[in-house]
Assembly symmetry: C2
Homo-oligomer: 256 residues x 2
């Protein structure tokens, strides 16, 4: 039975998509069978894995509306052991269309249930909001990985996501835990970066990953080539950081 | 009659809040009367102007639900000529609660109508989504300023916001125009940055501001002091860029 991890944070631009793609690629390189679910209407995870967003095919939207079976929408990416459930802008319609639906918060959990045994890891990339798509991901997941940019606004917003996780745990998903907080775009030369890291490690000592992802221009170049950083530049600091993160996740940071 | 400008882009972390606060402060320094409306439940514009987000007072949420008059929620910030309509996480409830409401897309436009004559500029900071809060801002605005981070995913997502502006123009707000595209976090030493700028200037020659905001650590430090960059460090490159942007806006880039 695979582990399902939601990659979530309502703050925008903190590295949710970058972490989803590159952690997935690192786990796949370690021969784990990985499914990536793009639940952001922007479709950045879909594009960053080299899949066209404007391809006429069913996406997560069609699955949530119950029009297709989950098996019909899984895409084999060009990367071994790495499959994708794609998204496109049509998914933004789901937020409004599902409001009236019975059990609207657990549609994704039910849809993914049929697949759980086929993968070692299912990673769900979330949009920058705490709306129905993110709630569905948190209800479906065993744990949530929170990417946190080393910036003030990101730090200010951390309690918003941790409060939401707590709410979901009490109402929809009693087993939900925080997999970890991942510091991203860390720049050791910059005071603010160091201050934010020190603050977060002091307040959340149990849950911050030892791995920190440095700001690394190769990471931001990779998506324009439709590749994870491992395939784009394995020697880069960014690739190394995500390989370290995969190892940390596989070894279990002491988490149950 | 003042100009109302929405600062919008569904891509997260591109500099919407940073542009709202610092353009507002630059216009206020030029003795224009400015109102900033924080329509993002994260409340970063509220926090970045030094106002506490957890202060027990009415916010934009109460205005949209019709429980207060607009005059009751305007906060005088510590900065001359700069007022604020604050937000907090409660605002995220509005997205769901307003779905059933008649005329749900133009509630903000009606609420702000009473204030338009009191300000030279009204700037609306939007959340990173194309949901009801952003739609309300686009329906209320005369124009939309699109901050665009010099990164691949931001470039990929540009058509999503320009398409939405076109939809709003045809359905809710025939006068809505693009005020301009503002390149943010530009780093001249980095190929990707230069490529993205060249691409955007080639595709949208008429609408890209001449002013580009460089990546500047002082900009990201200012919010932790609750101040715009002008007040935090007037000599910084970031402060200079936002003063240049205000001048460009006031002189009219030849726009009607
Ligand atoms: N460690 C890093 N070093 C340099 N650039 C990075 C790094 N991580 C992410 N980026 C870049 O920063 C931008 C934001 O990252 P990303 O899009 O992954 O964040 P996100 O949280 O998914 O954004 P959104 O909230 O819009 O979904 C992207 O352009 C990405 O390429
Ligand atoms: N020119 C700049 N140089 C350096 N840092 C910047 C610059 N502009 C913005 N930042 C920082 O980048 C981060 C993202 O900016 P900001 O929060 O303004 O974006 P946003 O589009 O409002 O994000 P969201 O989508 O979450 O609302 C913030 O931590 C901010 O301080
Ligand atoms: Mg993303
Ligand atoms: Mg913002």
């Amino acid at each position: 039975m695979g582990r399902c991890i939601a990659i979530a944070n309502q703050k925008g631009g903190v590295g949710k998509t970058t972490t989803t793609i590159n952690l997935a690629a690192a786990l796949a390189a370690a021969e784990r069978r990985v499914l990536v679910v793009d639940s952001d209407p922007q479709g950045n995870t879909t594009g960053g894995l080299g899949e066209r967003r404007d391809e006429p095919r069913p996406t997560l939207y069609d699955l949530l509306l119950g029009e297709v079976e989950v098996g019909d929408i899984v895409v084999k990416t060009g990367f071994p052991h790495l499959d994708l459930i794609p998204a496109d802008i049509g998914l933004s319609g789901a937020e409004v269309e599902l409001v009236e639906r019975e059990g609207r918060e657990t549609i994704l959990r039910q849809a993914l249930a049929a697949l759980r045994h086929e993968y070692d890891f299912i990673l769900i990339d979330c949009p920058p909001s705490l709306g129905l798509l993110t709630v569905n991901a948190l209800a479906a997941a065993d744990s949530v990985l929170i990417p946190l940019q080393c910036e003030y606004y990101a730090l200010e917003g951390l309690t918003l996501i941790t409060n939401t996780v707590e709410l979901i745990r009490r109402s929809l998903n009693p087993g939900l835990v925080v997999e970890g907080i991942l510091m991203t775009m860390f720049d050791g030369r910059n005071n603010l970066s160091n201050q934010v890291v020190a603050d977060v490690r002091a307040h959340y000592p149990e849950v911050v990953f030892a791995t920190q992802v440095p700001r690394n221009v190769r990471i931001s170049e990779a998506p324009s080539h439709g590749k994870p950083i491992l395939q784009y530049d394995i020697r880069s600091k960014g690739a190394q950081a995500y390989l370290d993160l995969a190892v940390e996740l596989l070894q279990g940071r002491g988490a149950p």
